[in-house]
């Protein structure tokens, strides 16, 4: 069940970006998604791209889609439509080389989107419960307070949502490096623990391979400026978002969980790519904590921004939905967790988040190898 019912206009390849953007300009009500993917990569990365793009279309917040391809790319509109045959959603395609160029392709896509929007408008609203929700957890631009305020408060909200029968996804494997001990204690079974350990160790080995002696510095400059010194320190604060429920399952990037409750997804710490993995798995909303302040949102999936300090909340009021800095002034994480859950349910009923109001939506898929 979705908490939005968007008509997506989705580029299947980077070359279709201009057409998709043009449709978005003409019809601001559609969710126009462009990206840098769709061609020029090795098999595993193209597989990830197809899985993630198809997952985004299958996200419950998407009611219908117009796929816009170029015509000579690997991830074509036809190929993607084929993988969506069983989605039960209206899927239309436009191919720029067949349409006679970008202007005509935009005309076609606009006409198709208008028709789909009309169909979506006539659908009745359905009633759901918290148990229908799958919520992704994310942090971006962490500071030292993130692990003291916003993340533990999100952890409390996550615990409450799990009690109510919902699902939460803790992602960002990079930010589990150095925090494996406390995480493994939450694993429901030895099988879950072994998979979690393997994922984190693989990510750590990759960080070491790619970054060498800087492996410990998978911190952004702003993290260090704010007082965070080591990746373990950042990670220990980061994992607080998951709360204290048992970890039921560990899933791959973009893979739909088969269990309810707390689930771990293997994603990079890079927030944009991490959100794409969770959205492709079916998350209808994302709880996003920030210490330094980031305005990013995600297409079709409302992102709720929670600040780690009241200073940030006051400095970027148009980007932050809720202030967890009140914990430094005496509120408990549990109290703020209740506030977060309350806001999440309002957003599920249709209230717009700051990122939605600001039109902040960016999309990128995690990649393993180089471009060719």
């Amino acid at each position: 069940m979705g908490i939005r019912n968007h008509c997506l206009v989705l580029a299947t390849v980077a070359c279709a970006a201009g057409v998709v953007r043009e449709v978005g300009r003409r019809l601001p009500v559609v969710v126009a998604v462009e990206h840098a993917h769709g061609c020029g990569r090795g098999g595993p990365d193209l597989g990830l791209q197809i899985k993630t793009l198809a997952g985004l279309v299958q996200n419950p917040n998407v009611g219908a889609v117009v796929l816009v391809g170029l015509g000579c790319e690997v991830v074509s509109a036809t190929l993607l439509k084929g993988t969506l045959a069983r989605s039960g959603k209206p899927v239309e395609t436009v191919v720029i080389q067949e349409a006679g160029g970008s202007r005509k392709a935009a005309d076609q896509a606009e006409a198709l989107a208008r028709r789909l929007l009309g169909e979506l408008e006539n659908l009745p609203r359905q009633r759901g419960t918290a148990a229908d929700l799958m919520v992704g957890l994310e942090c971006g631009g962490s500071d030292t307070f993130s692990g003291l305020t916003a993340n533990p408060a999100v952890g409390e909200a996550a615990d409450r949502l799990v009690e109510l029968g919902g699902t939460v996804i803790l992602a960002e494997t990079t930010e589990m490096i150095g925090a494996l001990g406390p995480l493994l204690k939450l694993a429901e079974s030895e099988e879950v623990a072994a998979k979690l350990k393997a994922k984190v160790e693989r990510q750590e080995a990759r960080a070491r391979e790619m970054l060498g002696p800087l492996a410990d510095a998978v911190l952004a400059p702003g993290n260090v400026e704010s007082g965070l010194t080591t990746i373990a320190e950042k990670s220990l604060g980061c994992i607080a978002k998951g709360g204290s429920s048992p970890i039921r399952e560990v899933v791959d990037y973009g893979e739909r969980p088969s269990r309810k409750g707390l689930v771990v997804m293997d994603t990079p710490g890079y927030d944009i790519e991490s959100m794409a993995g969770m959205a492709a798995a079916g998350a209808q909303a994302i709880l996003f904590t920030t210490g330094r302040g980031t305005p990013v949102g995600f297409p079709a999936v409302p992102v709720i921004k929670i600040s780690s300090s009241s200073e940030l909340f006051e400095a970027m009021p148009d980007d932050i939905d809720l202030d967890a800095g009140t914990i430094l002034a005496g509120k408990t994480a549990r109290q703020v967790g209740e506030q977060i859950l309350g806001l999440l349910l309002k957003v599920a009923r249709g209230e717009k988040t700051r990122a939605e109001i600001n039109g902040q939506a960016v999309f990128a898929i995690a990649q393993e190898g180089p471009a060719f």
Binding site: F145, L148, G227, T229, I231
Partner: protein
């Protein structure tokens, strides 16, 4: 005026300061205990709650966040100049 210092776990040997602290300023924890800062510590950074010898573990959230790379005195500023991840 004392600045709030946040210690999450009883095992922690550092606390995070909720505001800038001047040299000689006082950091007060929730349990009422106080630690004079021997140097200026910027908001959000860590203060040593006791002496930490070079090579000893630095603990926050009750877990190791790294090792001291030099001797750290009680009340000192703890960051990249005297703490590194164990790698």
């Amino acid at each position: 005026m004392a600045v709030l210092g946040i210690r999450v776990h009883p095992k922690d040997n550092v606390a995070v300061v909720a505001a800038d602290v001047e040299a000689g300023g006082v950091v007060r924890l929730a349990d009422g205990s106080e630690m004079p800062a021997v140097e200026a510590i910027p908001r959000g950074s860590k203060v040593a709650l006791g002496p930490i010898a070079c090579g000893e573990t630095v603990i926050r959230y009750g877990e190791e966040i790294g090792r001291a790379t030099k001797d750290i005195a009680a009340g000192e500023y703890v960051h990249t100049h005297n703490l590194a991840g164990r790698r």
